[in-house]
């Protein structure tokens, strides 16, 4: 990797990836903000119920999952920078690492769901768990889409005939969105009082 700080400041300031993906990021963030708003509103109206149900969650698992997902985000960021510098081998390695972290996240998430539902806390048990399963579930769907997106990155990086840097950055932008949405969901579901 040859790029250094001086070079980046001289680089023309350009939007990472397709600007179109940023429209998606901002729009989808608005939709999630609305989900969060409803959650906080109803939570504030019946704090006892939510607190009591929230006590069933294990904060350490949430923290672990957040760390794992932020790790995957870091890998994607490295992947983009390696690809930009033409180091496609390390870029592919970082993309696979990202997928690996995402698989860890999914496994932890599913095991948490299994544990909670076996303890009798299902989707329709109470309002807190409705929001819990809904928010983690819709985030889960975004993460599954993220695997397709990572597949596009790997497909692009593997052949010298493709290697479209803009597409790689677009996909990375999507992945980071999944990450920061989780950061918000984690804070709101596990830590908010």
């Amino acid at each position: 990797m040859t790029s250094d700080l001086a070079e980046t400041t001289k680089r023309v300031r350009s939007v990472p990836g397709q600007p179109d993906m940023w429209a998606f990021v901002l729009f989808e963030t608005l939709v999630f903000t609305a989900y969060f708003g409803f959650y906080l509103f109803y939570r504030a109206r019946s704090p006892e119920l939510f607190l009591h149900a929230q006590a069933q969650l294990d904060l350490r698992i949430g923290v672990l999952n957040t760390l794992v997902l932020v790790l995957s985000s870091w890998s994607v960021a490295r992947c983009v920078q390696s690809a930009r510098a033409g180091a496609y081998g390390p870029a592919l390695r970082d993309a696979s690492l990202t997928a690996l972290f995402a698989v860890v996240f999914l496994c932890v998430k599913v095991s948490e769901w299994v544990r909670l539902s076996s303890e009798g806390n299902g989707f329709d048990s109470n309002d807190f768990f409705t929001y819990y399963y809904f928010l983690t579930g819709i985030h889960f769907v975004h993460l599954l889409i993220g695997f397709v997106v990572l597949g596009v990155v790997v497909y692009q990086l593997r052949s010298p005939a493709r290697r479209d840097q803009q597409l790689v950055e677009t996909c990375a932008t999507y992945w980071h969105t999944v990450d920061f949405l989780w950061v918000l969901i984690f804070a709101l579901l596990y830590v908010v009082r």
């Binding site: 903000t33 708003g37 906080l40 504030a44 607190l51 870091w74 960021a77 920061f180 804070a187 009082r193």
Partner: protein
């Protein structure tokens, strides 16, 4: 490999902000360990989460090097999320 070092620092900051939640959680519980509702913790938690979101925007998503418009737009979004979340929470508390 100066870039990677910067990203590493970013990750360490994000990780420590995440771990800070463990500490908040510890102080938020009373002596018996039961959870308590708190009008102080909630805004704090939301603000920390938004700080993390902004760091992800700036560093991981490379908005730092993007045109000024995108910087402003993402910052505006962070503020917007914060305003919406906090006002939903406090309106809920007020009309409870």
């Amino acid at each position: 490999m100066r870039f990677n070092k910067r990203l590493l620092v970013v990750w360490v900051i994000l990780a420590s902000l995440t771990l800070a939640y463990l500490w908040i959680d510890h102080t938020g519980a009373d002596s018996s360990g039961a959870l308590r509702s708190s009008a102080l913790i909630t805004p704090g938690v939301i603000v920390i989460a938004l700080v993390k979101v902004r760091i992800i925007f700036r560093e991981f998503m490379e908005v730092r090097q993007a045109p000024v418009l995108l910087c402003r737009l993402t910052d505006a979004w962070v503020v917007l999320i914060g305003v919406v979340l906090l006002s939903c929470y406090f309106i809920g508390v007020a009309i409870r």
